[in-house]
Amino acid sequence: MLPSKNTARVKPETDRHVLVALDESENAKRALLYAADFLGGSPGFRVTLLSIIADPSEDYFTSSSERDAWIKDKISRSKELLHGYREILVQSGFRVDKVDVKVEVKNCPSIADCILEIQRELGCCTIVVGRRGISKKEEFIFGSTSNKLLHSGKNCAVWVIE
């Protein structure tokens, strides 16, 4: 029996939105392959592949044109990388329209904070990242994105792929 027009409220199907944060590293690739293997072919998921380019200080460059060229090159390489990864997800069973690619140049005192900002913007329920496997000393000096995400992430799951 069909529900009455007055009382029926068909809740639209909402995909669970997963954010995979990536860079050019092997551990990021492992995270992507894990997401493809784990979620590929499952209905009800959409994925955004994210690459953040920390807006570099002018101090590292001799001129603004050199800086602009660096950013342009970085954006181009990141887009190429993410489109390659998008293909992997599609081959694993994701529909083409369920995988987005996002390259962001942002002022990032902390990369993890920038990832969380985008997670909130997009309303993602899950973040997937790779773990670099750095030493305690390296974490102390440089910081750890995965650890920061684990500590600071709110209202979302964080998958750290070894």
Binding site: E138, F140, I141
Partner: protein, 334 residues
């Protein structure tokens, strides 16, 4: 100080410069003729007794500065000269452009660094009037090089000063350390100000804090380093702040080598977790050496030790913990 008629003319003859220089260094030491420089691109050629003219102001060049770096003491810094501002007679430090990109090494870790006059010029502007930073201004020479003109500070490094305090650690810790901790907290707040403004110091070391002989205030110097940070922009500055705190609490470096010779009973109790996470011969868990150091302070030091599971990401939590330690220490030392 300056002869107004000379200034009014807007340019300086050799005779003008001699008159001005004589007021500063005495007639006897004035050379027969000055070499006048406006382009510092080849800073090696800027020499003693030259006159560097910047923004129409003449500076009489004196000696170059020296500095220890990465464990190597007293390296000449030919791009940094002391100079007398002839219009005021004031001593200045002139920092010329030395474009340098290098890989810094701390223990077995490496990262890319750059020496940036732009960064230092930007921060000089940002911290104008802040008592915990060196003061100065930046300008460009005739070739467009960014030159920083810094007020010379008479005094010593905080590191050297600390070593002169107290007959022993006990006396130092109860008499001299409490006010020193207040000064240190002010210095951390100054770094917090930089971080909140989107800047890092970049080279936080104990010899980059100068104690003014004039008013006993402390200020950060030399912020022209920048580095490609990874996850967190500020963690390297935090590492520097931690090392300085350990140095202040210990009244200098307390090393395992020294303890092995001077206090074997303490040395025998040390474990790897007690040591500085980066400098593996320095003791961070100083309570093992000086048991009267209270937990509230020692727990801060342990954040910089091998045993630490969590680190300070920024100055906020660090300052909060330091304030708590200060309150406690001020109570029991009164």
């Amino acid at each position: 100080m300056v002869n107004q008629s000379i200034m009014d003319r807007g340019e300086f003859t050799q005779e003008d410069l001699k008159k001005l220089a004589a007021q500063c260094i005495g007639h006897v030491r004035v050379p027969d003729k000055f070499r006048i420089i406006t382009d510092t691109s080849n800073f090696f050629s800027v020499d003693f007794n030259d006159i560097l003219v910047l923004d129409g102001n003449p500076y009489l060049i004196r000696n170059y500065e020296r500095e220890g770096r990465f464990g190597i003491e007293d390296q000449p810094k030919y791009w940094v000269k002391r100079a007398i501002e002839l219009t005021t007679g004031k001593l200045k430090v002139i920092k010329m452009v030395f474009p340098e990109k290098f890989t810094a090494r701390i223990g077995d870790l490496t990262f890319d660094c750059v020496r940036s006059p732009k960064k230092e010029a930007r921060i000089l502007e940002l911290v104008r009037g802040h008592r915990n930073f060196m003061q100065g201004m930046s300008t460009k020479d005739s070739a467009g090089n960014i030159i920083r003109i810094i007020d010379y500070i008479r005094g010593s490094t905080m590191a050297d000063y600390v070593l002169t305090l107290g007959n022993d650690h006990y006396e130092y810790f109860f008499e001299f350390f409490p006010p020193l901790l207040n000064d240190y907290i002010d210095l951390v707040k100054a770094i917090q100000f930089l971080h909140n403004s989107g800047e890092k110091h970049g080279d936080i070391r104990r010899d980059h804090i100068i104690r003014s002989k004039h008013d006993s205030s402390y200020c950060w110097i030399d912020f022209d380093f920048n580095y490609w940070h990874q996850e967190n922009m500020f963690t390297y500055d935090m590492f520097g702040l931690g090392n300085i705190l350990i140095y202040l609490v210990g009244r200098g470096d307390v090393t395992s080598q020294h303890l092995r010779k001077s206090s074997t009973s303490v040395f025998d109790q040390l474990i790897t977790g007690d040591l500085n996470i980066v400098f593996n011969n320095r003791v961070a868990n100083l309570q093992k050496v000086y048991p009267y150091i209270p937990d509230v302070l020692n727990n801060i030091l342990l954040h910089f030790s091998f045993s630490a599971d969590t680190f300070y990401d920024d100055t906020d939590q660090f300052l909060s913990d330091l304030e708590e330690a200060k309150t406690y220490i001020n109570t029991f030392t009164k």
